[in-house]
Amino acid sequence: MLVDNEQILEALWETVYMTGVSFAFSLLIGFPLGILLVVTRRGHLLQNEAVFKVLNVIINIFRSVPFIILMVAIIPLTRLIVGTSIGTSAAIVPLVFYAGPYIARLIENSLLEVDKGVIEAAQAMGASPGQIIFRFLIPEALSSLVLALTIAIVGLIGASAMAGAIGGGGLGDLAITYGYQRFDTLVMVLTVAILVVLVQGVQSLGNILSKRVRRS
């Protein structure tokens, strides 16, 4: 094997770091956008066709660019934010641009599943739009939101593997440079196995958490 344990551990840490930090930022951007996508649509709490349409189009644009191209396309912006366009931290910027709009859509989907009758009941008892969002919509959707965010994290783990293309490091990088380009099958199998365990772990955790928050 061309790599030692330490390199693998470091790559694992890089993957976790990239996924974790970009998930946090993506959530920060995606959550409010997801809520806006729901409440500004026609017939909803804060109906506003202009806001809805603009958001809808912007999110679709980001969602349609393949991650590998997005990564290269926003290099100037990355340089502006992080100071460099190479490395693990630099990989976080495109990851956020990739996962933010994705999370917005996932959140939108979950919130739309909430029974319209519950919103109507909230309105009938004199709740304000803010109260309806935070005391009715989100608690009712919480279980489904957790599952949606689990999907987002798994997606981010996958996307972060591509970050190796800009020197982002991580397990994916290791698999490509050693496993693929230098024909080290063991490294390839090992990194993929670690990724499988990682994804399994995240998904199981998500399932347990989702079940737990179903009733709060």
Partner: protein, 343 residues
């Protein structure tokens, strides 16, 4: 008091305009139970939703206690809504929250202190008979229990008006009965005005004081439940009344009447009020030397008043029959030829 004045609601569906409400004029007096009945698509749910502005009328106004609500700001609307409780066909409870939390919700929204919420929710749950279910979740309860929670929640803010949107339509007959009893209790004990919409005439008969029949966005008939049930004018109303009053002549009897042609004298006698308790048939029989053959009959109660319905064959001299009919009309009963009714 709720007043609908020329309330019109028009929806835009593509290029087509849909008139859900077409100039509704209705007055619901304080303290009464007012029922609106209609088939699906008649405009009932649009109508009830204009009262708390879940739907805004396209034209016309809704006044609550004399105040036109369509002119209110959104903040004033929210305050007004706290004075109008609402319960729903599908209960619309928060499945992620306990029964306690569901009932407490309107109080939480109003920033009520915690100990006061506790106290109030406890007494509300006792009132609806579910004090021991506070820590359960809605999906652990039966439909009837869920509706009781809905009712407790609707009463939490001490409203003066309660809107019931097909509140018993998802329940079995026995549960429906218990929910209706609870609504009547609310109406009597708290003097809360109740406006309910339903497609079940049984609900109207059971608890309403007044009824309006809605068809194609218009009120086609309205009045006291007793009047509308005993003397429905419009075909739609008659259909609704027949759905629960069972006053259609049995087919075999219809045949018999038709076969007999004009030779038989068959009349429908409707007893109202005091006349129900009197032995009218035997009195008439003795007094006028007639044989009376009761072909069909039933007696029910409407708003606590007994109401009887008999189909009687008069056998005897024509002039005697006419005199007998006149005598019956003198009492608290009405008589009409059964053939007219049967057609």
């Amino acid at each position: 008091m709720i007043q609908f004045e020329g309330v019109t609601k028009t929806y835009q569906s593509g290029k087509q305009e849909i008139h859900a409400l077409n100039g509704i004029d209705l007055t619901v007096e304080t303290g009464e139970i007012f029922g609106v009945i209609g088939f699906s698509g008649a405009g009932k749910s649009s109508l009830i939703r204009t009262v708390n502005l879940l739907e805004r009328p396209t034209k016309g106004s809704v006044k609550i206690h004399g105040k036109d609500i369509s002119t209110l700001s959104s903040k004033e609307i929210r305050t007004t809504r706290k004075d109008i409780g609402m319960i729903f066909q599908h209960f619309n409870l928060l499945n992620s929250k306990t029964v306690f939390h569901n009932v407490a919700m309107p109080l939480i929204l109003a920033n009520t202190p915690k100990d006061k919420i506790k106290e109030q929710v406890k007494s509300l749950l006792e009132f609806v008979g579910l004090a021991d279910q506070a820590q359960k979740y809605p999906d652990q309860l039966s439909g009837g229990q869920k509706q009781r929670i809905g009712i407790a929640r609707a009463l939490a803010t001490n409203p003066s008006v309660l809107l019931c949107d097909e509140a018993t339509s998802a329940l079995d007959p026995q549960t429906t009965q218990s929910i209706l009893d609870l609504l009547r209790k609310i109406n009597r004990e708290y003097n809360i005005t109740i406006l309910l919409i339903t497609h079940e005439m049984g609900v109207i008969r059971e608890i309403c004081d007044k009824v309006a029949v809605l068809e194609a966005g218009k009120v086609i008939e309205q009045g006291s439940v007793f009047d509308v049930f005993t003397n429905p004018q419009q075909p739609t109303t008659q259909r609704f009344v027949r759905s629960v009053m069972n006053d259609e002549l049995p087919p075999a009897l219809m045949q018999q009447i038709q076969d007999a042609g004009g030779n038989h004298s068959i009349y429908r006698i409707q007893f109202h009020g005091n006349s129900v308790g009197r032995p009218l048939i035997s009195q008439v029989s003795r007094e006028f030397n007639l044989d009376l053959n009761v072909l069909f009959g039933n007696i029910t109660e409407l708003q606590g008043k007994p109401y009887g319905n008999l189909i009687v064959e008069f056998i005897g001299d024509r002039s005697e029959i006419n005199r007998a009919l006149a005598a019956i009309r003198q009492s608290d009963a009405t008589v009409e030829e059964a053939e007219n009714y049967a057609s």
